[in-house]
Amino acid sequence: MATLIEAQAASGASAATLRPQNRRNVRETLARYRWLLFLMLPGIIYFLLFRFWPMYGAQIAFRDYIPFLGIEGSPWVGWEHFETFFTNPDFPRLLRNTLILAALSLFIAFPLTIVMALLLNELRLNILKRTVQTLVYVPHFLSWTVVVSLTGLLFAIGNGPLWTLLNDVMGTETNFLADPAWFRPLIVLQDVWKNTGWGTIIFLAALAGVDQEQYEAAIIDGAGRWQRVWHITLPSIRSTIIVLLILQTGQILNTGFEQIYLMSNALNRTVADVFDTYVYFVGIQQGSYSYATAVGLAKAIVGVILIFGTNWLAKRFNQQGIF
């Protein structure tokens, strides 16, 4: 019975009970929501421990962290690590490598995903459509270790199928895996192979929601196939494209640690080093915790600015943003 009254009180929801004004109301609210708050406790602890505590610890970017002295005990050094990083001769190279990879992903992988979604959408033979979808989603579930190992086997010197094929066509003896000129093409190739198919899901879902009568009306008005794609299909996925663009812009400096780390070797370092791998090398391997944290923090802050900036731009041009 008490529960019933509680339920009625909750659904009746006088604003006062939700906005407790004194201690008694706080107690009442806690009592009413005790089970829900209890259920949420492990999750809250998780976020505090593994998401927010590191944010507190990130202050070592402004200190000279000495494990023995602890975070609070280590001396403040202000912006020193940031200055070291931005004046480091490695900095322009890291920035360049990171931005080139991001641009390749944005201008090659992203449009290819849209094109592929459009092609799949034009496929009327349902069984074929489903078969192709089933096949192209598979690589998404393979680990980067597997993808990089596959690449290693396909481009193995002397007997790899793609090594043989490409060298025959070009009349060369290139070792693709070690040649810095081939690093970026291979990264893009892996990225496209692994993620293009998967990326089509969200567009296909948006396309499935398009009112078919629009197409019929367009056909009656004499619109050809391209006109229908241009005037009906593309506008209907415009908001999806914009949301994904905003999200991707925020990710520009995140190159994906595993892929780059696994693909880099002593011979292609000049083009392979990016911020993510740099943080790992100087932080985890060399133990310069404070400096590596500063690099990571600079990267994260630029990411936040980019995501809000693109969102603001999208809204300015009368598109729906994500916030």
């Binding site: 909750a10 089970w35 999750g43 998780y46 976020f47 192709v132 990089v148 199928p161 925020g250 994260a300």
Partner: protein, 293 residues
């Protein structure tokens, strides 16, 4: 169905459809061709692997590479470890996510908006690799399997999608349970969970694939090589220029090329076995509840 007819009946339309079908069949083939090659290669002899650049059917079958892997104590340990970590980790991650998603799906929960904003904030901004590493170190989790499970226990995206799904469940069911005297724990267990099975199954599989495929966490958190997971073993085998029997904990050295093919297969097959179950739900699971709210 009339629509289908006039889509196909112009000559240009027919040409486009033919090209489209061809292109997409090619794309679908390319998606799995490398895999089929490695499958064939894993059963081929060393001689065939070094002399034939491409084949989908070996001339001569051998299971030497698999025999070498299965008798490797290093592999067997890594494989069992990875299965155990994936199983336990998936259960923990899913339970934590669902338990947090449920209260957040209640619109009148006090503090709900604040918590949601903080969750979204962690999606946009993360402190980065080193501060997280130091937390894991401080908690004494370095070189333990917990380091592969706990730091990524709740994926904010999954949390929000599951929350939105719970939110869209019909309220009447919960209210009638409440009138019957059930508390929130009971409602979650007997009403919400059974209704959410497909969604929870989807995210369980996503979590499982995430742990199984994870390379970065063991790389960073496990320095003890005897604790290495399957992905670490895979990397060690395929990146090595030559492997001795000792690397695998075997007496005999493995087939130099074949072992690389076989180990890729062994690391992939469990994911492929899970794929049909994944595929049944993921498109729906990903999009269900992705409505803003």
């Amino acid at each position: 169905m009339a629509r289908v007819k006039y889509r196909f009946n112009t000559p240009a339309g027919k040409v486009f459809d033919a090209v489209n079908v061809t292109v997409l069949i090619a794309v679908g083939t390319i998606a799995i061709l490398p895999f089929l090659y490695v499958l064939a290669g894993s059963f081929a002899t060393e001689y065939e692997l070094t002399t034939r650049p491409f084949f989908l059917w070996p001339n001569e079958f051998t299971t030497d590479a698999y025999a070498s892997i299965l008798s490797s104590s290093v592999f067997v340990r890594a494989f069992i470890t990875t299965i155990a970590v994936t199983g336990v980790g998936t259960a923990i991650q899913l339970v934590l996510t669902a338990l947090m998603a449920y209260p957040l799906s209640k619109i009148d929960l006090p503090g709900r908006r604040t918590i949601m904003s903080l969750v979204v904030f962690t999606m946009v901004f993360s402190a980065g690799l080193i501060p997280t590493f130091l937390v894991v170190k401080q908690l004494g989790l370095l070189d333990t399997y917990w380091a592969l499970i706990l730091p990524a226990a709740i994926n904010p995206f999954s949390l929000i999608i599951i929350k939105n799904f719970f939110q869209e469940l019909p309220k009447e069911l919960e209210e009638s349970a409440k009138i019957d005297g059930a508390n929130e724990l009971r409602i979650l267990r007997s009403v919400v969970m059974p209704l959410s099975k497909p969604v929870l199954a989807t995210f369980a599989l996503f979590y499982a694939v995430g742990i199984w495929n994870d390379y970065m966490s063991p790389l960073i958190y496990l320095s003890d090589t005897s604790k290495w997971t399957l992905q670490m073993f895979l990397r060690q085998v395929t990146a090595a220029s030559s492997l001795t029997g000792e690397d695998l904990g075997n007496e005999l050295p493995p087939p130099a090329q074949g072992i690389k093919f076989a180990v890729v297969m062994v690391a992939t097959i469990p994911v492929l076995l899970a794929y049909p179950f994944l595929q049944k739900h993921f498109a729906k699971g990903m999009l269900i509840g992705s409505v803003k709210g």
